[in-house]
Symmetry: C2
Subunit: 463 residues, 2 copies
């Protein structure tokens, strides 16, 4: 939480440090800089993002791609973007092939029967209808499994007791996440019958964290589940004993279900010769099938919609078109990003960015733009510094959908890194609800995105 | 958490403050006081309670009375009390008539469909097999419902949005709990079809808190559920709008199931003429059918067993017999307490007490003893002061089972009040697991109970 008072002090400090901004005048005009600063400060008093997020969590909740709730989320987004006064609001249909969860049951079968709290991983195979019971081969972490050249996993259920380190930038998740992404395939290569991982998450609550596992060519797909942390503790304690430990696993899952979903688009239209160039600020509209999709990614949806609203309310049309894109099916395959690229790949994109890391405050700006555009990024950095945001180079990676587009189309990109310290407490769990969102940090996000979009839209340089 | 260093300082301070202890010599001998102090200090380095609790959560988990897990908990308790070296270890069978949970489904039916996280309340009726859908009559709290003389609830599902205040001593629960205990009957009297309450709990996690509702003569029993806090938020927000709100409710429950369970008893036998008098330190072995029963009441089970172990290891037989009683079926009707009273009511009980408020540190001592025994309580208070425990009069109420016995048999009682600030975050939820227990506060509890039991066993006065 960044207090109002601290921000005002930071603003004064920012204005007194002209070093970064001195390089910029050639690329961002003084009038545009002044407009950006005013926009930023008004957005810092944002009152749009919270009601949008509250509305999405209340009226829709969980919205896995292709579900009835997803369709209602699309309607919700179109209605709300329209209500906010944004232009060219539309839902662009796209096809996706998704994984769908059925029943999941996990229990200790022996020596001490106990039901465990678990969620199947996305892409998990089903077990036989009556489930399977097998002895456990326990591994302390993913690297231990990967290093195992023995026959220990064969015919067993592999348990990976990977812990997730709490970090601000998500490094802990990136490291531990390998157990979810690649653990099942590593187990399958060793002849395992199923996989059980400690949830990739930083909390101690009894929620399992779902999320997709990777499919690898030629490797069988196993039934794979994540255990809630307290249940992983139970398995770890029993696995450490001399007695053999047997788990029961029943997973019902549906692979490759063809569904229709949508990207929702809404714009603040540009005016002038560059109006057909796009500054894309995105988020994803779908969520996992658990929780309310509040942090992932209702917050991002609310932030970029509110940012666009502030651009609109500031009364000056941007030179380039600022486009909000709410991607469909991020969680289950990035189909929205790919469909957007297929449809709009020929249009010149000045910048793509995405808010998809919860509602924590933005603490870092990283770009991925041409060298000649860097003075404009410096100007942006000067504008964001009063928000407590530090510039950190030109090796940025935007959110997942924007990342797909950046890589596929070589579009310039921006990363506004949010504080993810608490994000993996609720990520991909039933506990991802509005009740866990800090309303106080949303406006700073809105201000950062509005400012970023404006500078990108006005800069006298192709990013 | 009370640190070791602070306790040592407190001990020194306690020894330097002889005011309370000056009254005591007539009732507790100097040798017994010295033994108590040594016992207390050794118990403060306790290493028994945590492994006991860990073992119970690992090897048994949830253990509702009469379930197979409950039977295994009884075996566990007998085996562990025996292993600790306690005497006369036995399981005394008793009959109970319990409520059992079947499936529960709650959802917003209109205007914005959404599945809600809920648990049926103990004693809830079933809905029709296909569930029921009805408009909601929302009440801000229990008192608002009770004051309603209109026909508003008739034919509707009553929603009670009672919030629970976080307090150290559980007052917040006592006040809010009325919505669960009596809300369903108040709704039934007004012709409601079902009842949905905000969970009686202090957390913001997506867990519903179950617990029993009271049955009242001549009042129909309704289907009644508790919503997780974030889901109660959704209902409250929609109920505040002009559009009618409809809920779907499906509850399957089994009333009045006859089961057998047990009280488990283990003793540190007294020696001498008062050996047949009993100092009872209790906890309850059963739990709700959700969670691991860690805070409620695995912690209490571990604490009183560990306290008895320290009495044993201190090497002096007590004058009276110290009896650990692990009651059966506290949660679903106090059958264990009544069965104990039926069987042992004629035996002289010097004192009854119970640890059943989680694992928080003890901060208060309250007795309920004869006036002539108060100097012995003062002596006890002097011994407990170094543990950070304050004496607070003779109007104590021991735990639930001990309270039943105190009232029925007029047995003297002791209350060692634990800090319950965090207790109602996990109380009666799936989240009541070992992962939420603070291992650091267990030894202080063990020390308090060991000291209390010894002083009660030795005092030269009938409490």
């Amino acid at each position: 939480v960044i207090g109002r008072r601290r921000l005002l002090i930071a603003t004064a400090a920012g204005l007194a440090a002209p070093a970064l901004r001195a390089q910029a005048p050639a690329l961002v005009s003084p009038a545009d800089l002044a407009h950006a600063a005013a926009l930023r400060d008004r957005a810092l008093a944002d009152r749009h993002a919270w009601p949008l997020l509250e509305s999405l969590c209340t009226e829709v909740g969980a919205r896995p791609a292709g579900s009835p709730a997803d369709a209602r989320a699309v309607q919700w987004a179109v209605a709300n973007a329209t209500r906010l006064g944004l232009s060219n609001v539309r839902a662009e249909p796209l096809q996706a092939r998704v994984w769908q969860r059925g029943a999941t049951e996990v229990a200790i079968a022996a020596p001490h029967p106990q039901k465990l709290t678990a969620l199947a991983l996305g892409n998990s195979a089903s077990t036989p209808p009556d489930g399977l019971t097998a002895e456990v081969a326990a591994y302390a972490d993913f690297d231990t499994l990967r290093a195992d050249t023995s026959d220990r996993a064969r015919g067993r259920i592999v348990f990976i007791d990977q812990h997730t380190e709490r970090t601000r930038d998500g490094r802990g998740y990136g490291f531990a996440g390998r157990a979810r992404w690649n653990g099942p395939a590593e187990a399958a290569r060793r002849g395992a019958l199923g996989v059980v991982i400690r949830s990739i998450g930083t909390d101690r609550q009894r929620f399992a964290h779902t999320g997709a596992m990777n499919l690898q060519d030629g490797v069988p797909v196993l039934p794979a589940v994540a255990l809630a942390p307290p249940d992983a503790d139970v398995v770890a304690r029993l696995a450490a004993r001399a007695e053999p430990l047997r788990l029961f696993l029943r997973v019902v899952a549906h692979q490759g279900v063809d569904v229709t979903t949508h990207n929702v688009i809404a714009e603040v239209p540009g005016r002038g010769p560059r109006a057909d160039e796009i500054v894309l600020i995105g988020a994803h509209l779908d969520s996992w099938d658990v929780g309310q999709g509040a942090a992932d990614d209702g917050a991002g949806v609310a932030i970029v919609l509110a940012a666009a609203k502030h651009l609109l309310d500031a009364g000056r049309a941007p030179a380039r078109t600022v486009r909000v894109v709410l991607f469909g099916n991020e969680e289950n395959g990035f189909d929205g990003a790919r469909a957007y690229g297929d449809r709009h790949g020929a249009v010149r994109h000045q910048l793509v960015g995405e808010s998809d890391f919860g509602a924590g405050r933005v603490w870092r700006l990283r770009s991925r733009v041409a060298a000649e555009a860097l003075p404009a990024i410096d100007a942006l950095a000067g504008l964001l510094a009063p928000l407590g945001i530090e510039a950190a180079g030109n090796e940025g990676t935007p959110g997942p959908d924007a990342g797909v587009l950046m890589r596929r189309h070589r579009w310039p990109a921006i990363e506004l890194t949010q504080d993810g310290t608490a994000y993996f407490d609720v990520h991909h769990t039933e506990n991802d609800t509005l009740a866990r969102i800090d309303a106080a940090t949303l406006p700073q996000n809105v201000a950062a995105w509005a400012t970023t979009a404006w500078v990108a839209a006005q800069a006298d340089v192709a990013f």
